[in-house]
Amino acid sequence: MEIVVKDLSVVYMPDTPYEKQALSHIDLRIESGCFAAIAGATGSGKSTLIQCMAGLIRPASGQVQVGDKIFHAGSKSGAALRKHVGIVFQYPEHQLFEETIAKDIAFGLKNRGITEPKLDREVHRMMDLVGLPGELSDRSPFHLSGGQMRRVAIAGILALKPDVLIMDEPTAGLDRQGKQELFRLLKDLHEKQGLTVILVTHDMNDVAKYADQVFVLSGGKLALSGTPAEVFEQYQIWQELSLELPQVSQLVAKINEQLDVPLPYSIFTLEELEQSLAKRFVQREAPT
């Protein structure tokens, strides 16, 4: 489902000495079925932006449109958006509260008015999807490991069958294996089920690896946007944004300092870099 953000501004605690402009005049468009990344330093407005998209923070001005549903300053509530957008907050395991894992996953479905036996079937399907063994369903979620708790929370969101899935730093606090598994799940959801995925992160390596579209925020404004290659190309701006380029792009930038004809920034893996360097070497050796 397509998301269009038009001239969006958000102000926290208006008319008090603590007033803060969190977002100012953001315009962006995330295409349907796209894997988008929203990047930016701490306090750049990433979280505010995604919460607007999810219908949880009311815009001060401007609007967010998800599919044909519009949310603006005068809207009654963001509930229309919430039906289509699933949002997984940072450390989602902190919002678990039910006695059993199955009940927690079913919580959102119950709020939507879904009853047994469909409920039970859906819960088990979701547990299977996120890779939780079915026999855990009657256990307390608080006895699980951190990574497993997170999967329970994610299953609870996916059960609502959102068209757009927003994930705020989903891998924070996970080990390498947990991180890889989570990204595999995310990629599956995106490719097999056609979900529009929005990933909030400050790890550019993940952006380079998975995203089709990148939006970089800085001080509540949209600083850069485009494909990862287009965005990483403007590496001079990156230093001002206090963000790090992906490791391979950093290497490409270093090599380009020595080259007359620069390497493209669409190189995101060491293998690709190796191949393009080899190609150049062959071209130089070959008599023209």
Partner: protein, 264 residues
């Protein structure tokens, strides 16, 4: 964080900000007592004028006091109405079938409204102009004579400062959990009051869990830094009375005289 939290500190360097927290605390305490002895409209009006001047000197926007007053407006209205209705005495002013309003009723309604207003205003002025650290330091210092009879002044002050410190944190946490559960389809604005209360369970449980986790982390961090209560503990920040604080004493005496002069 959305919305303004009552009792928030507003940094500033006005005369009121620079007063010693102990002096301010003591003043506010005695002032509140005196408000209850002000049983004449004129005395109440003088007290009100003083508070308005104090707010002006503190450079706190009046608007914020209205925010602070919001929760008790209902109480003010209710007690005023009751006085208008029930209190008899003096001349009859209005007579409807079923309700007769007397002069005394209007006076009592005015006095009770101003009293409640004064209480909230002076308490808000105290928290608006005194940082939480100053406030607890002042509290500890004022309570310390009671240590001799076994009152744990330092521990009480520490508890208070931890509580104050965690109000915004827990508030933020509440907002976060509320939004997360809203994203899972809860609508907090729908249904009658019992239903709405029940809907808050999905917020309260995670909030308690995280509060306990934070408490445990904090306790561990304090132990790791060898915290052992008030025993042998000295202070980096020392409080000092200045000449400014004498003004508060003077004002108290003046207000006390107002009370005496206008007594029944």
């Amino acid at each position: 964080m959305n919305g303004f939290i009552v009792g928030m500190y507003l940094p500033g360097d006005s005369f009121v900000h620079q007063l010693d927290p102990r002096a301010k605390l003591g003043f506010a305490f005695i002032f509140m007592f005196m408000v209850f002895f002000a049983d004449r409209l004129l005395a109440c009006a003088i007290f009100l004028a003083f508070v308005l001047v104090a707010i002006h000197i503190a450079k706190v926007p009046y608007r914020l006091f209205f925010t602070a007053l919001k929760p008790i407006i209902f109480i003010i209205l209710l007690s005023s109405l009751l006085h208008l209705w029930m209190t008899k005495g003096g001349e009859m002013i209005l007579a409807f079938p079923g309700i007769t309003i007397y002069e005394e009723g209007i006076r009592q309604a005015g006095i009770i409204s101003i009293r409640l207003l004064l209480l909230v205003a002076i308490a808000s002025l105290l928290t608006f102009t005194t940082s939480p650290v100053d406030l607890t330091d002042g509290m500890e210092s004022l309570l310390s004579p009671l240590r001799k009879i076994g009152v744990p002044a330092h521990e009480l002050a520490l508890m208070m400062s931890i509580a104050l410190r965690f109000i915004p944190t827990l508030w933020e946490e509440t907002e976060k959990i509320r939004k997360a559960q809203m994203a899972r389809g809860i609508d907090f604005e729908e249904g009658h009051i019992l239903k709405r209360l029940k809907k808050h369970l999905p917020i309260l449980i995670p909030l308690f869990i995280s509060a306990f986790r934070r408490a445990e982390d904090l306790a561990l961090a304090m132990e790791a830094r060898c915290y052992r209560g008030s025993e042998g503990r000295t202070k980096w920040r020392q409080l000092h009375y200045t000449r400014r604080d004498l003004w508060l004493l003077l004002i108290l005496i003046l207000l006390g005289m107002v009370l005496l002069i206008f007594r029944h």
